[in-house]
Symmetry: D3
Subunit: 261 residues, 6 copies
């Protein structure tokens, strides 16, 4: 039995409120249990310098928490004058995930800025951000479609994320709340598409290790949770959901730069 | 006739939702027209170095906007690596205003951190922050009372703020929305207490000047608006509102440091 | 009786030395009691990016104190790697005040940089900076006139500033020195033009509040002091003083940007 | 056929030179193909503030590249004044990986600083860093053993890392060089222990996705490569290798802090 | 003939005004031709962390220019958020030079902060700073003597500095003004003591080189100039000058830290 | 007798390994005793803004140490977020020295970036950097010659550097190792050309002073050491060494900017 009474393969209650704030082209408030994230998607009619004159678009994500989103107040990163490693890691992850399902050529030379601001945290803020950001992104692109700035919705597939983990006393569980997460031996974030493929897999033994058998159980749980999240995204999006995947995919473009990986 | 149909001495619709987020000792969501600010109040059981061993408390405020709280997306201050002059000015103002109605000796050696995060902006964000922060602060102190950490509510009077301004075509008006604010000749922020005294007055001619006569009309409008805001604060706070002002005021303490003003 | 023997409505001794340093287009050393500020005005033949191609000029002010201008040595802001909130607030104030009496259209696409460097502080450094900076600015514009870069002196009116305050034992007084300022209950900075209108009014109760009656007394004192300061400015400037206000004022231009105020 | 003639499941030539620089307690130069990393391990006799008085140790890793380790010169992070997101991600990864095989209680209240400085980059710099850093760490702990500062080598198992990926034309391959990495559809870093368990798994579709079937093939390749790397580590370390795993493992300690994950 | 009519071995007009600002323990305004520097010396009753509990004092110097001290306005280092390499080099030089003639053991565990702020620049600002800072330092130590905080003036010898250089058309000259300096082939700063020994010698070929013969001529000129400067220092200081050198020198202490030089 | 058995006028063992890393246009590993520095030279086909459209090139040097190049681990400058004064001083010195023997007009509008990264420090890192950087620079220019990007090797003369110093017990010595350097009374870095002229001379009394007689002895030692270093450079460079000095020198160009020196 889990601390909040859920079964091992059960998501927390998830709710996505569309058009939560008025200025952005797309925005949602996503609630996963007690975790609440405002995701907004803004269109900018140009791309960063390293992408110019390639005829394709770009997606950049930023992530932050209000200082008192957590049990203990955190110092603002603007006051510290720098963004923490954890924040950078998360915003790089969100951006990479969203780009994996977008046809950047079809988007044209514009940037989508995605802002994920956690107003209340209870575990799983990065995966909630991705699931919510996908919806905000579709809403923003829908605006471009309506204004006929673009001709097709440049989205190849749905995208959602969840966490899974191994807890000493209970084994493998889906969608960890903060209390579970803080005592987990293994913590894994999984991002998948509507057709059940992986976009990103990040599994970490927290001063522990894990076997192939455990890995396979975790991936099954994640698969179940993500299918449910994508069903919810479709319901929230309504008609525009049917346009996802209706893009004739351009061939993979090479935008690798010269850094050693 | 004003752009949104209000009369010159009419506030926008104001709403204050208590306990908006779960972790802080006190929190509200204040809505003034389309301006929305999350105000949270956190207690820390120590004071900053310059206040130590004086037996009195301190109040620090921070203010920020989500990047897309505004019509145009703003770059995050954490990404820029520094806090703008405008932000600093506002957070100094909020902190100073709250301290003016708190008996810091009665608070004891602890710090109240007040965070005002604008999630949607439509003019008057700094004055809405102050009006909301006052309520969040009372709620946080109420927690200390309940835990018997302090014996009396260390608040000398109510506190609220609004903006008034001079618009070319309409003269003096109360509570400017962003559209009005952007074309105002004179912009004034007024912070007052429950007994009708000034805490702070900041009037600025925006490439314009103003006369004593205009000043007096503006102050009358502000006085009317602030009385209404304080009535709302009382209603929202319920019983604890009766404890405001029940503090036997300590004599003004001198905490001036050696900087030239 | 005030600590330095002045009557309540008496300014400290004020002196303005023209052309104090040789490189700037305009410069003064202003002395107000023991407060000494070097104000220099520099012309740059371009405007900041947000002002480009509008055919009008811009004025930016910077303010700093030598580390040992004060009783206690302050750490340099360059060493700390950032400008304090207090400094930002003051430099924004100086710039805004100067812009309020300049016809930026007549100035043309150039920037006036005003630097106010306090070499000795004894209260009232920001108001002394404004009073001195106005003179340095006129001197710099006079150079442009002499070189026929501009045709008329683009200054609509005189501008000066002083502080007033309420001190427990003495009531309302004019032009506070540091000792007075550090024990004042109310501190107000007033900036006015030659025709007696307000440009900026910043009144703050320092852990105290103030009434309308007190406000009115303070404004009367400020009015008297500022008239005397403007008389001194005229005397120091000599002939060019007659050109102030001889500008056919352009209509107020709108240079508001999209930030929520 | 791969660009450098290797078979799909073949590592590049790997060489580890012990005691490469004289000052650190442990150091190696690890060469993997044309990738060269200096790994040094330094003992500091105290722990960071958040770990104090818990009787256990800590491991912190830092990672950097010489500006011209890569084809194009990179700007130094010290000149930019901040560490990039990529760097932070890598140094967090290295530290986490090393900590997973160390008994921090047995280490005692001291910090191991691990510095991985890439002097020449040709793909796989982060995995080479981990494989080399493990050896440098053992050497540093060996010094502590010799000085009898600690009683047992506090290392629970061997640790090595490699990359695997999917390349369009060739399918799944082991140990990608830069040229391969830059055209891979899927890129996965795998960190494993001597007993074949996972410590960390980071798989990313680069504007692509991957299936469970592909995942399983990749994990097999990684398993083969890492076994070979650990054999090499044993050979390089000599006698001290036998002490790895001879630690009676303390129970997992909980050092989670209060941040939302 | 030099641009300003001086002979090759002639200093510019030098003037040192004592007690130029009121707050610092010691201060001067030094004028060398058109170069003007405010030097202030402040006593702090503690030493930096790396010097604690050694029973000896420390001297730290800071150097800055007002933005418009020069022909072109310079951006403030506080606005740039960092101190330039040139500034750091100069302040390290000033501190090192002053420390070379002070018996830090006799000073006791306190820090002397020396601030050199250039208000007008015309070449030779770093050497004028050193010559002026020496006088400000003596004045500050005199205060300590008067208060009997120290028993002897902890100064071993006089100290002054000047620049010499090679100019294409004129050969070796003493005390270069800015116009000369900007066209010099060789630029050398020389710091010497009252007994004619070198403290520091920094000679630089500016895209040029110089021979031993030229070096010797330059050193002779510097020697002459510095003798004259020290005569002036003695005259300005009056009686306290006689105490310089009356210290029984402690043996050289070793405060070298472990950095590779 | 010196600590390592050398005579007073004896260099440590010096070795220069060409083409040490594969990406840069020129690179060496220079070893002087236990001091090891990787010097790399990179060509960028543009110049910094202040040099544009003058038809001439530029040389910029950067210097850093690996954190554990020294006995005690140093905090990385990228982690501290700023470059230390010592580092800035050294990289300015290296750049200035290299520029003094290069005909920047002949180089054309391109920048040579020189990176000196100390991987092991035992005194004399800045002089070893200069001696090594000269060789790396020649190798990089040789590449430009081979590609016929430039027509002549734009190098006017050889360039090398060494340190000399005065040690209490031994008098004047050549090429100080760290142990000697840390107890030296006088420390002098000398940079000379192949024809025996000075490029830069930096002598510092470390809480001590030095006489003309001592200066002359030090310069003799430096002259001897530098001749030997230049012989080694010629040997390492082989045939291309003959092209050094074969440039018809352009007249000295004036690239002085307006800062007061």
């Amino acid at each position: 039995m889990r601390t909040d009474g859920r079964s091992k393969d059960e998501l927390r209650r998830v709710h996505i409120e569309k058009d939560y704030i008025k200025h952005p082209e797309g925005s949602v408030l996503i609630t996963v249990g007690d975790t609440k994230v405002i995701c907004s998607a803004s269109i900018e009619e140009r791309v960063p310098p390293f992408m110019r004159n390639q005829g394709k678009g770009w997606i950049t994500a930023e992530y932050a928490m209000l200082p008192r989103a957590t049990e203990q107040r955190n110092i603002r990163e603007s006051s510290k004058g720098k963004v923490s490693g954890r924040t950078m890691e998360i915003q790089r992850l969100i951006g990479r995930a969203l780009r994996s399902v977008v046809d950047l050529d079809k988007l044209g030379e514009r940037t989508l800025w995605v802002d994920c601001d956690v107003i209340q945290a209870d575990g799983g803020t990065r995966t909630a951000s991705i699931t919510g950001a996908f919806v905000a992104m579709v809403l923003a692109f829908e605006k471009l479609l309506e204004k006929k700035t673009i001709k097709t919705l440049p989205i190849k597939d749905f995208l959602a994320a969840t966490s899974v983990g191994v807890i000493d006393s209970q084994g493998e569980v889906l969608d960890l709340c903060y209390e579970e997460d803080s005592k987990a031996d293994v913590d894994m974030n999984v991002i998948m598409t509507g057709n059940g493929e992986f976009v990103e897999l990040q599994g970490t033994g927290e001063e522990a290790t894990f076997s192939v058998t455990q890995l396979n159980k975790l991936l099954e749980l994640a698969d179940k949770g993500i299918r449910e999240l994508i069903d919810l995204q479709k319901e929230v999006l309504g008609e525009v959901a049917d346009l996802v995947g209706n893009v004739e995919v351009s061939s993979k473009s090479d935008n690798n730069s010269g850094a050693g990986k």
